[in-house]
Symmetry: D2
Subunit: 339 residues, 4 copies
């Protein structure tokens, strides 16, 4: 059993903890919080030992009737792998601690590529992560782009990718971030940084990305266009996507045409937290016009990287060397049912 610590029990961290906990070959040795909160109570209810960054604040937790198991340093000493899910920018400053402890560590996409020197996606470069000490799982948007680009490149060869990310303003549980009523270009300049981030996983792709933020909480919507080497048939694409373990096809007969209806469906399916770990590609949107491929895909910003973290743990610890096998175990442990 691989012992996994989750440093930062927030939006991503709490999902990674539950996903790790569901795997047959790994266990959660602890999670961390900096202050008492709803999520600290959840950790306690789930039975995850709770560690805190600043042990001098133990009393604050005790007062809130939340048991503290020790310091983050203690937690790391008990772990084979640390998943760092602290807020963007904080993770990099933890690197020295992980190096000293000689523990393997995974960062999230909010950190730069350089924090680990290797950026990961299960469907693209699992083999290159075998045995590594440090790995960065790319962001939700980059993960979603890598999956579909790799799938199309394997099928037909991709000459050029143009993608627009229409991003959610805040996560569902956030209340301070906006916008309330605006479309915000983020960035105004074209291209956005997402294209170069894809290159950390899939080098040598010609890609231009653009991004904006809109007032919604659930899922980013990607507009994907690719110039293909050779013309593809829609039926071949449907088959390939249907067989892909991390792509879900949103069937036209469900009548689902929005992120909200998709979330309702995931919720009705009984998915934990209504999480959608897969790229949700709208079947009816898939179009091949000449040698160009188009589709809409919805990306659940809180969920798609969770399964990538689990796979990264397997690659780094070498307990499973075949990417397909790791993906299979991850998916089936989570009850990753078809959408």
């Amino acid at each position: 059993m691989i012992r996994v610590a989750i440093n930062g029990y927030g939006t991503i961290g709490k999902r990674v903890a539950d996903a790790v906990n569901a795997q047959p070959d790994m266990e959660v040795v602890g999670v961390s919080k900096t202050k008492p909160s709803a999520e600290a109570y959840i950790a306690a209810k789930k039975g995850y030992p709770l560690y805190i960054a600043d042990i001098s604040k133990k009393e604050v937790f005790t007062k809130a009737e939340i048991e503290v198991a020790g310091s983050v340093g203690d937690m790391i000493d008990n772990a084979d792998v640390v998943v760092d899910a602290t807020p963007g920018g904080i993770g990099a400053s933890n690197r020295e601690m992980y190096e000293k402890a000689g523990v393997k560590a995974i960062w999230q996409g909010g950190e730069d590529h350089n924090v680990a020197g290797f950026s990961f996606n299960s469907s693209c470069n699992y083999n290159d992560a075998i045995g590594r000490q440090f790995v960065r799982v790319v962001s939700c948007n980059t993960t979603g782009l890598c999956r579909v680009i790799k799938a199309m490149d394997d099928l037909f060869g991709v000459r050029k990718v143009r993608a627009t990310m229409v991003r959610r303003g805040s996560d569902p549980g956030e209340v301070k971030k906006g916008p309330v009523d605006a479309v915000v270009l983020n960035p105004v300049t074209i291209p956005s940084h997402h294209g170069p981030d894809v290159l950390t996983v899939i080098p040598d792709i010609d890609i231009v990305t653009l991004a904006m933020i809109v007032p919604t909480t659930f899922m980013h919507m990607h507009v994907i266009q690719m110039d293909l080497e050779s013309g593809g048939k829609k039926e071949d694409i449907l088959k390939a996507f249907g067989d892909h373990p991390r792509i879900g096809l949103v069937k036209g007969s469900t009548g689902i045409k929005s992120t909200a209806e998709l979330k309702e469906y995931a919720s009705d399916l009984g998915r934990p937290r209504a999480d959608l770990w897969e790229n949700c590609i709208f079947e009816d949107s898939i179009a091949v016009i000449g040698s160009e491929f188009y589709c809409f895909q919805a990306i659940h910003q809180e969920a798609d990287v969770v399964v990538e973290n689990v796979d990264a743990i397997r690659a780094m610890t070498e307990i499973v060397k075949d990417p397909a096998e790791s993906i299979r175990i991850t998916n089936s442990s989570l009850g990753f049912n078809a959408i």
Copy 2:
């Protein structure tokens, strides 16, 4: 085993079906839809026999690969109780069908009191529903009001209630209804209809209600004020609410100050569909100023009536005659854990 049919498998119907399915003393004999949709697929995945109102449309379902078990008439013939969760206004037109079939029927709060001649809330008038053929479960807002008014009246005596309902614009899965950026008075006139609707359950209460709609999807927020017969202490109120099976206290130490954070918490707790069946009263908002009581309570419009429907089935079929016992069974079957 009481055989329950759910006529209308939508926002409320699908939740009632799952709740009935979880009870030890009842079973789902069928659910109905009028056209193929995401929810029809969900019914199929859950194994609920699907019946359709207009059997001539069977082919439309078959084409969408959804099996049809028969007509709504067939479904009713197999049932002891029908829960009518069709859209507001449709339910009344089904009454004749239920009468002819001699089946017991429950309507929702979107229908008038007269459809059943009796309006129900488990915490208020369970005993009066014993053996009835027809019962109307009051709306989400009225249910939330009845619970807290009855609890306070039992404790201290209530002379007057003033309540403002700040209502959600659409359910999370709806995409056509707004508003996008507005506060809509609904109605503009004061008082609103909610007060009189409370009187169908708790007669002789002096109550004035007001209502408006705001651009959010999850939960209504109620501002509750009551003039008490005798001054109450906050600690007595906290104890009574803490012991109440359908009131949940949102603890201040969780830091939860909004509907969004509350939903996140319910989702983290693993509640199905993040449902909050209880009145969610913010502990820190409870105030007694002179002889006046104040609090904020959040009401999950999709969920609070679900447990009331289950209790109504028990009262009408007389399988449990003690309200507390029915409420206990309903809650424990659902894993109604403390918030």
Copy 3:
């Protein structure tokens, strides 16, 4: 003075009325409403004679203290040109009335091309509208696309256009339409109908469009990409756009990065109703990557077609035969100051 009647005094109609009223060579002979409303009071305050479709409802208006000048038929008899700004789909049914009256008529983009047999944009085909009886001004999105495509085609030659429309959910004054919290694909299928609609104005352009709806009220955001015949320099594009009478460059030094900030700016500028009649292209977004052009442009759905209607009146009545001259008069009459 050209006598102009506005049939349908709503979002577009009231703006067209004010724009016509501001021109030196035309006058408003009347506007129409179907029932008393806030807009009917506004018409009265502005001194526009109010006509009603169904004269039998005159009493309803009188009761609301709004004076009725006569029926829509009476209004048309006094007009040289009718601008039909009735809700989409209604306009077509008015065609027979306009034919019988022998009056010139302009429809909006909510109607099909066939209603007039000619689709208009001042910057593209003013000359072809000279003397016509019937003209359709294309929709807000198509107008915005036509302007920028024509401008770029004139500069460099355009081989292909790919455009994504991120559309507002409702107008600012609407409260019934959503979505509240969703991205809605509209349509799910690719391409959308906007491309073919551009072809009604600019034939022989290779164009693919996609569209979605987001929960905001002010402006659509267009993502524009064009393959150019010959590579363009950003400075040439800036100059051409800067000189274009219906394109406004949003300067980077203003710090404006969103539709909301742009509206605030228009409001601060003292524009009536904060209207932005021009394509608002974000200067910092303009990029030429290889032979590809990219930019973001915000389109004010309530405003950009208003000035096109005014120009169409001049072309149809032949009072001004030079498009540049009509555009100049329209703009300067409105105080179309630089953004």
Copy 4:
């Protein structure tokens, strides 16, 4: 002519500048910004001399082609009165500067009562401001409450006020603040600080207030309830409100039932920035139930204090000693037409 400087040319400051500029007895000697922005361009376009807090940053403005007239210190030396509209909390730190310069100063409601030692509302305590050096104009919500409470107290005597403020999440031009989809209790605790703030203007009123934030940008909505000394008739209230110079009655026949429709109406009326300086009380919501008064009033958070600042200038400089006369001049200069 009273020389007025506006320190802080943002949401409130830019409106106060335009309002001062419209008065016959005062002039704008300067406005201040800390960095180049859209609003700095607007100041330049309007011809207001622009001063900057940190003169060492002059070059940054020059580079953005915005002329700088001098430092804030220079601006104050030229002024009889400074209106401090800097962000909440900053204003207090400017007090020493105003004291040293011997200039009269007005702060906004984001500062504490103690910053000036006197809190102002034109309709309540204009006379007490005569000749003062320092005055604080209370916040938008408190201004709205003071006006209606004073009006009702004058009419019938008010024994108790209970009010709920349903507040906008962000101003229309803000894009960073949320919430996107939540009702946020602010504060969770009852009562809120608004009641005590009313007491700084109207002492000895028994008042309990509550507040929450919702995802909308335009106007707060107040639910007002008052226990009256003597029963009032609705017609008397309508007459009194109709005659009040700072209360506007939203007529039922307009069909306006929301903040969005109200803004549209203000925009159609040609009000600058669609500003609503008055309390917008919905005529149809006014109810007298027994000895209790109820109504809904919408308060434009960006606008209602603007006219109060103008009146405060007159009181402090003693150029007009009669409150009704100052209010009349302010209103008529702005073209404060009836809604």
